[in-house]
Symmetry: D2
């Protein structure tokens, strides 16, 4: 992947927003690779994602060209930011400007079930996830060997009803030391306190093993089996104070039949969980997601 | 479709059930076309569906054979029933024996939205649904012309809060006169009273425009949009006293995105509703469904 | 749906295209409702679709506002075109500017199978397809009564091997008289000659009952059954000189099993055909599709 | 999973097959857990899969019962076989009788892409695949460390055009020494010779990264991109002499758009490959698959 920058914007909708942003980028010589926007007409909101090359050859044309590289070709991110910031302030924009050169730092949390963890680590290893993973945190020892295989430091933090507050304190300390940007709950079975969540707003991704909002809470496969549904689902979402209620990022389902017992649902569901969680993490890392209210815009 | 008989059974599970039923059919010379069974190990229940040819040529082999038809070849359904009934009583079986020669009689109910109705009528006309449709009932006049096009008697029954009880009385009278076996609610927007439902246990099929148990009740597409789900669904189910709570027959989903407004969900959902309702009706007519507890077994 | 204009563009990619188009629209006071673009980096091509309101209230905010309507608010499409055209010429753009006030005129062709036709007509009647349908053409009489029910003129044109050229002549004459913009082949079983196709480049949509490029040509369900596939498909595409080879617009699949005979595939396939054809027609009418090479860009 | 036996049968169809097989099992006191059959009416063939408990408590009822175990309760597999074999011979049956106590022995082959391998190994470790994996064979060293992590012997066999015949000789020797029952090609990029394939008829499972029969041969994602399809697929199948032509076991697809480049297809496809291959392996191990002609019956 060539080096590029991504600008994410949300603000009140008004005329000329696309023109002003794209005009400014043009003036700075940006070669736009992708641009997408969305309006929520009901709420009068505007959302935009624009990605451009940071070097002249980052445009995808010249995989093996003989052209000499223009010295003046590189995009000056700081100069652009200096001009863009006041315009954004004037237009009431919230914005985030990132470049692919700064890899986000991700902490993975899990408990005893390792299928999501094993899946994420394999994707990480093969370059599918554009991030650093400086730590794996768990209240079980089961993941330690797997972490070691992938060369990732493992942090064991025991959690009991009595020690939960201390445990969260220890976890937050680890996250701070490791300069973590994103926490991924890969079937982590402990509920995080509002105090913990407040440290990472829209920066904690969880996977819930049901098609939310159906079957919130514990043992959703048992509940699905009891209700006799014909499809089971899984949902990845940002974590908020309310359990299983945060902005949904991705969902998927699989067909089941009367022949499937709870353990079959659990097994089928593992494939769904892996897929919806890994998509959510990849999209977050690719700066494709904007949260607003209790919803997400996911730019494709 | 050649002439065939279907036997549906449910009973407490015990050894030898398949052997005894298939043995009896063999003794009567049945040529079995399909047989399927299911055990619910948790509840200790046994379910079976077996279909066999009623004439020697109903086996699908001899599409254009030169063999002469055996006079003795036809299966004697009454003789089989006379022997099977006492065995079934001994084994505690509930059972239903039907033959394709007796077409079930179906009443369609709808309100102002006609997409499910138009879809069912087209399928009926092209032979996809093995039934008679002697009446369409509605509290709106919108469907009358469509009913006329397909040559089906239309019964207008106005329903208001004040007249609901009288309206249901009139509807039940129509159903009795027409000797109806199955009532299909093709987006019929009135809630049927428990008294009405009691006349047709597991014989009223409804379509609900959500992925149940999420978004029960009114305006599910609005609720789905408000929650920010990434898939919408539709569910066909048998009607019971509890709203949107009966045994689920079929469900399906479609992917949506942040771009979709409520009206887009409504439009996408229409395709789902048509499909899950028409499948449920076809499976019911093909004697593929057994209800138990609040669930269904759907033999494929 | 409020009144809006859509501009579709494709041209060689270069810096500043988004800025120049959106800047020009802003200067003319356009309120952009949706904008989307795409680059094919391999071929160095740029594609854009932008939609904006033609009246001040077309922005979706003011469903029931009390504000008085600005006399100066309406967008002047002709003035915009006069300025845009020379810019487009300079940049080597192919473009198409349409407004929702001009309804495209669609001719439906079919043969003996009516499921796609019935589906399209019902969608048309309920307002799902933004077009006029001034004629239905068929080489079978089967559709005549259905056309009459929807009040659409029916044109019977017999086609035999001997009369095919004359038949196409007659069909072209009908299309010209009716000022047709789009021809939809709703399971029309005759192959159109290159001469015919040349009159309507990227303006004839066909549905093929397989997952192309698998199973081109006649009897694809038989071929799928013979190969033992586990999914069947359907494909909607623009018609070109090569049979079943034109740019693909939409595809979908359904799961089958060893239990399904050819006639089951045909029945399951009908639902797929209806859905992929109706989506293609709707997207074409909504000006969402750009063809290039043998592919399509479908803006969502 | 409790201990059970599975009997798979195929033979010419005739009356009474279900009755005779289930009758014999009943006489031997079998407690049938699942039974399923299928007729191919066109070819006049009958297929059956029946699974029964090998001990009295294997019926799933008595998770924690107080009943004393009947000494006489265990099913005598050898005694059954002695009586069944002559009946099977008389009826022209091909059959396979296996019990869960004998774990099939599986060899995994791969080349440089490890996603399917990593997925299978994780499923194996967590008990999802009922088999032994005594060896991993590869012409690349990339998998060696992963094999070591899961404690599975690794066999490096270099393959070049010149040494292919020798390499296959060495591979066959390894398979013989390890008493392998099933070979799984987890993205193994060498074509096996007919001589090799002849040693393992319907015992080599491959995954091909397209929706067969579309895009056989090399670089299917490139071909799919060039054709502009809207869905990509993957197929697991038994290997025969003809490349990508063996009996299909499972297929699945994922939606793509004009935005997806070849490398996006490759990434999306990896998830499909993992899923269709792991399902095929699991079904084969669970004795759910019967091959006939160039097709499969997959009992669910």
């Amino acid at each position: 992947m060539s080096d590029s920058a991504v600008l994410l914007i949300d603000c009140p909708d008004r005329k000329g927003l696309v023109a002003r942003v794209s005009g400014l980028l043009y003036e700075h010589g940006a070669n736009i690779l992708h641009a997408d926007q969305h309006q929520d007409h009901e709420l009068g909101l505007f959302f935009m994602r624009v990605e451009w090359a940071l070097d002249e050859h980052g445009n995808g044309h010249g995989a093996g060209g003989t052209e000499t590289r223009s010295v003046a070709g590189d995009f000056d991110l700081e100069a652009f930011k200096a001009v863009f910031a006041p315009m954004a302030a004037e237009l009431g924009m919230r914005w985030r400007l990132t470049s692919r050169t700064q890899m986000p730092r991700v902490a993975l949390f899990c408990s005893q079930y390792l299928h999501c963890m094993a899946d994420l680590l394999h994707r990480y290893r093969t370059g599918e996830l554009a991030c650093e993973i400086p730590v794996i945190v768990s209240n079980h020892r089961a993941v330690e060997r797997l972490a070691g295989f992938y060369g990732i430091p493992f942090e064991f933090v025991e959690v009991t009803a009595a020690t939960k507050s201390d445990a969260e304190g220890r976890q937050l300390q680890v996250l701070a030391e490791k300069k973590i940007d994103l926490v991924v709950l890969a079937r982590y079975m402990q509920i995080l306190s509002p105090g913990f969540v407040a440290h990472y707003p829209a920066q904690i991704i969880n996977v819930h093993h049901s098609f939310l909002p159906a079957f919130t809470g514990a043992r959703p496969y048992h509940a699905a089996h009891a209700r006799g549904v014909k499809l089971i689902g899984a949902t990845s979402h940002y974590v908020t104070d309310l359990l299983d209620d945060g902005p949904i990022i991705e969902q998927d389902v699989a067909r089941i039949s009367h022949r499937d017992q709870v353990e079959d649902l659990v097994a089928r569901g593992r494939d769904l969980e892996r897929i919806v969680l890994s998509r959510a993490v990849r999209w977050h890392l690719d700066q494709r997601i904007l949260c607003y209210g209790n919803k997400t815009v996911v730019f494709d």
